[in-house]
Amino acid sequence: MASTPAGLTRELLALRVAHELRPGMVVNLGIGLPTLVPSHLPEDHGLLFQSENGILGIGGIVEDADFDPDFINAGGQPVSVIPGASFFDSSISFGMIRGGHVDVAVLGGLQVASNGDLANWSIPERGGGAIGGAMDLARGASRLIIAMEHVTREGSSRLMERCTFPLTAQACVNLVVTNLAVIAVEPGGFVLREVAPGVTVEQVVAATAAPLAVPPGVREMVL
């Protein structure tokens, strides 16, 4: 798979994810790539960002110089809060998540399977792991979007028939947005929706280690 194209930058990938969000949604953004999403939203985005460390109504990531250790997101980054924000403890926060009050979670991924399984907290060869809020979010969020590179640094696909890494949750992923494509997880498996500019359908198929349905009308991402 040496031919896998670069596709989107991380920033453009975040921008494409941002297009999935609609005013009124309650959104939780995972650590890493997903935290880049807010900077690609219009000012009047009308979203309410939940952070599992106990904040509803995160504004954005703020300058380092303003660092207040008690105003952080779940990744430890300094954040501002909007008028109408609230603070609460982790028991309320995860009650909110498991109870179905988060409309969309955007998480990073290590592997996504065509049955919707997600693995994103442990690489067996490294051992240990970092589950954090991922297992609760994967089960609790009404819609789960995975934002990740399509292939590993070594060139193997992160989209596969069955995950080989320890699972985060079964059959939880709704949409995968990668540097190459937007792929829906349907009852029948992966369905290609969009390709990144300059990336061909064939390249996406080649970079995907599972059957990928290609319906008519797959379009190029609008960024």
């Binding site: 008690d70 952080i72 430890g76 609460f88 982790s90 990073g108 240990g128 792991g129 970092a130 589950i131």
Partner: protein, 228 residues
């Protein structure tokens, strides 16, 4: 009923012995009892079982590994798959020197809550079909399968809050509440470090995050802030 006020975090650890099970409040930088953790390092207490959300590169808690004080951790976030940095904890974990029980974060706080609230466990769908469920009982309730997770309790809890009053009421700010609120309920001895200690009544009763009954010891000290 009235909390005991200590002059230093070191003094506040009086009586803590080897083999202790300690809950550490905090989520990364917020609500983390860094002064108490460093006093625990200085104290040299060994064979500690720690219960904390995160132990990773740059966390004050990782300093406990320097002196080999940890027997193991129950945590949600310990060794990040994609991180390029290696914590002391990770090194010791790979050598088999420390144990690690990884818990999903929502389950983690519920298990602590159950331990503090006299409940027998937690029934959650989180973790089903993953390694987290291995060896655990499941239970069907009204046609849905849940994982049974057991309560967590500790000998001691270290907390960080904004202010305490002399009764032991704690006021949090921002994201400080995180695990501090529930850990306060689930340990035999609860020690809180705060920015300020005030007279009873100075904290608005509407703003008390942890009621006084839960807090035994209080010490004033500026927060330890470690940038990551």
């Amino acid at each position: 009923m009235v909390a005991t006020i200590y002059d230093t975090p070191d003094a506040a650890l009086d009586g803590i012995e080897d083999g202790v099970r300690i809950m550490f409040g905090g989520f990364v930088t917020s609500g983390s009892p860094g002064n108490l953790i460093r006093a625990l390092c200085r104290r040299g207490t060994k064979q500690i079982t720690g219960i904390a959300n995160n132990i990773g590169f740059g966390d004050v808690l990782d300093e406990l590994c320097e002196g080999g004080q940890l027997r193991g951790m129950i945590a949600t976030f310990a060794i990040r798959a994609s991180s390029t940095q290696t914590s002391r904890f990770e090194v010791q974990y790979r050598r088999g020197d420390v144990a690690l029980e990884l818990v999903p974060q929502g389950t983690f706080v519920e298990r602590i809550r159950a331990g503090g609230a006299g409940l027998g466990g937690v029934l959650t769908r989180t973790g089903l079909g993953t390694p987290v469920a291995e060896g655990k009982r499941t239970l069907d309730v009204e046609g849905v399968t849940y994982l049974l997770e057991t309560p967590l309790h500790a000998d001691v809890a270290f907390l960080r809050a904004h202010r305490a009053d002399r009764l032991g009421n704690l006021e949090y700010r921002g994201a400080q509440r995180n695990f501090n609120m529930m850990m306060a309920t689930a340990a035999d001895l609860v020690i809180a470090e705060v920015d300020e200690i005030v007279e009873a009544g100075a904290i608005d009763p509407e703003r008390v995050g942890t009621p006084a009954v839960f807090v035994d010891r209080v010490v004033r000290c500026d927060p330890v802030v470690v940038r990551r």
